[in-house]
């Protein structure tokens, strides 16, 4: 009997489902690696593809998103603690890596590829190692702010002439939370709280993300905003009339935010994980990230484009990254209340 199209349609769907189930039931291959990263996919994916080509090890990645405020993969790692799926965590900042260390999710791995990196960027127990760094910068809309009006210190942002003209991303999330925690460590609780209160009184604009800060400054919605060098670099590449300013060069310095890489405890494929960590810490990757998103290498003598600032020319804030990460936890409740004011 000839089958109706109706029957064929459903049979076709059943076949699809079974093929699909067949495909997915394959167990994890030992010649693969799972990496979770909070680094923007546009920059991290090409690096992982080169690693795949070089080693033949298949990289399965979970990237983070703007919607989850770069905490999606971190929460997945916390949820997966007792049954890790991920081998390597590539973080956009040391704070998240340190949270995982505190929760017992990462383990020590002292990669030989870290030789040459300043120990300040390495966890003392080797739960995370820093590489290519970004910096927190003040992005200025050059159409709206004249050269003489450019603030030189982050503390200047509380001046009345900048009232309603400055944007920062929500300080409970991302590198902004790390920046604020670093300020608390540098200035002390009382001064830092006063600074935030003054900033609020000066009608600071809270953006939904660093990318949103970039957009607000580029379009002239605000005159300036605190964001990261990669966002600033993107704005310049897009042709916006903006300029990046490193703050407090005559004072306590500008915050440097390195990428970090960690090995996940009891992960399914530790050996491949170590290979990826060694690769991420290489000069080659630092060069790639300098070219793609203006990240500043932590190794010496890495060839970088002219437009990329060198760490040698920036007065960096002196930071104990682990201490700042822990500080961040203690100030969250205050920040939440500050946001709700």
């Amino acid at each position: 009997m000839k089958k109706s199209r109706f029957q064929l349609f459903f049979q076709f769907q059943f076949i699809l489902i079974f093929i699909f189930l067949g495909l997915i039931s394959c167990n994890r291959n030992t010649y693969e690696i799972v990496v979770y990263t909070s680094v923007d996919q546009v920059f991290s994916e090409p690096v992982l593809k080169v690693f795949e080509q070089k080693t033949g090890i298949k990289v399965k990645a979970i990237f983070d998103t703007e919607e989850t405020k770069s905490t999606g993969v971190l929460n997945r790692l916390i949820t997966e603690k007792d049954n890790p799926q991920c081998d390597v965590f590539w973080s956009g900042d040391p704070m998240r890596a340190d949270v995982l260390k505190q929760k017992g999710i990462t383990e020590s791995y002292n990669s030989s590829a870290s030789i040459g990196i300043n120990p300040v960027f390495i966890d003392k127990d080797y739960h995370w190692i820093g590489f290519s760094s970004r910096a927190r910068i003040l992005l200025i809309n050059t159409d709206l702010v004249s050269a003489e009006d450019i603030p030189q210190s982050i503390l200047d942002l509380t001046y009345s002439k900048y009232k309603g003209k400055v944007a920062i991303a929500n300080p409970l999330f991302g590198t902004t939370s790390f920046h604020i925690a670093a300020l608390f460590a540098e200035l002390g609780n009382e001064k830092a709280k006063q600074f935030l209160s003054d900033l609020k009184r000066n009608k600071v604009v809270i953006a939904s993300s660093n990318g949103d800060v970039k957009k607000k400054v580029s379009t002239g919605e605000v005159s300036m905003g605190l964001t990261d060098t990669d966002d600033g670099n993107e704005a310049i590449k897009e042709g916006a009339h903006v300029k990046m300013v490193f703050l407090d060069q005559n004072g306590f310095g500008n915050l440097i935010v390195p990428n970090t890489v960690s090995l996940i405890k009891n992960s399914p494929n530790q050996e491949n994980g170590k290979k990826l960590i060694d690769y991420l810490l290489s000069v080659e990757v630092e060069k790639m990230l300098a070219e793609s998103c203006a990240q500043m290498p932590l190794h010496k003598n890495v060839p970088i484009p002219e437009s990329v600032p060198s760490l040698d020319n920036i007065v960096a804030m002196k930071v104990d990254y682990s201490a700042v990460a822990q500080q961040s936890d203690s100030i969250k409740e205050f920040i939440k209340q500050w946001l709700e004011q």
């Binding site: 799972v34 996919q41 409970l172 919605e221 209340q337």
Partner: protein, 522 residues
Amino acid sequence: MKTINSKYVILLPALLFAAVILLPLLSLLVTSVFADGKLTIENFSSIFQTTTLKSIGNSLIIAAWVGFVSVAFGYGFAFLFTKTNLPFKNTLRFLLLLPLLLPPYMITVAWTDVWLFAGFPKTFIYSLPSVVFILTTIYIPLATFIISGSLQNITASIEEAGEMMTSYKTVFLRIILPLIRPALFSSFILIFILSVSEFAVPSYLSVNVFTTEIFTQFAAFYNFSAAIAHALVLTGICLLLIIPEKFYLSQAPFISFGKKSSSYKILLLENKSKWTLICLAYILLFVLLPLSMLVWQSVSDNSISFWSIIEQLLPSLTDSLLLASSGALLITLLGFAFSTLIIKYNIKTADFLLLLVFAVPALVTGIALAKFYNTPSLNLIYGSSLIILIAFTARFLFISEKIIASSMMQIPASFQEAALLMGASPLYVFRKITLPLLFEALFTSFFIILIFCIGELTTVIMVYPPGISLLPVRIFTLMANAPQSAVSAMCLVALLFTLSLIALMMGGHKILINQQWKRNQS
């Protein structure tokens, strides 16, 4: 005897649903009321803080306004598109649908860019009314489609009988309105639930709502228990709305896309041009204006080519299509099983459970699935795409069941009883009577769920396995630091992809219906 057997066959998928989806949610509920092995309500106490209460208030205000305005406009459009001879109504209906097919986040970005370009004050742009406005433009098409389905079910003879006795105005107030009241009420509830759970739009516009509170607990404080406790309160609020529906409208059709009465009355408009222009003006101002901003952004940058965008999205287009179509089929089959349980066997608890799962915020469903399935013994599920199918089922089974159940309710029991009395086997009755009569509803369910699955982000982002690339996830991960032009182009590619699917499905629908019609004729 045979009937009892078929009941148990249908019960199997229901039990499977209970084991696969209800257990994770229950287990999460238990963890939220236990701390260090002791029963505690500590996680719930923070709800009574002033700021939290204020955020709950904001959520309720937004959801209520969006619900009311969407239903009011949705009713207007539904009436014009279904009950009148409005010219180009199919095209207008199609254009009205567009905001529902784009991520709410992108529509918000587009609207804020339009407003900034037009010089609107920031006090309006970053405010509660603008959240209401954007969500309303997104959900009006949903209300339109639900109410249209209900209007199509009113046979012409009922209205004509009424018109023989009284004016159309009275017929409308005394006959039509009571008949579509369940659809009005149900679309309000559906839109209220979707709006109260919305995170991306209020977050982008810096409006503090309850979902941002939940998200802060989860993503900034890593306090899963508090986040879940807050989410349970949100679920409770949704349930408070649902309970009246259970008592008041228990047998009423909730959603009835596609299925229509054999002949429903069409009114002849006195001034067709005026009504066409009103619809066109709405579509131009509230649908095409933000879309044209996305188009303008994507073509304004010469360095971005649509081909390179398609290349970037290609792996996720195929993964999304395969997973969404598998999910849509699975959910439609389960939807059929649940509809049978609820309509044929009158097991109302099943309906309530589906509603309960639907009312749970998407993020919480994601956490529940991740926590429950992430064990070595369940790695086959958690480490594979099965977890995505489960996530889709948790999110959308309720909608599928409602579409199929509303159609099933309209099949007279006498059809099947007569066939059984003539000696036909239950399987034969199912194949030759039930399935053909339900075909449109099953097809509609498959199609609607496919579209929902393709756009689903919040739950799957928590559980999708490494190596799988889903379209909304890929767009959101590429959004960070990608130029606005590229992001806009990505959204347009995703929109075109969904529209192509709709066209394909419409074509398939026509062929299948024609085939069925020819078969019936022979």
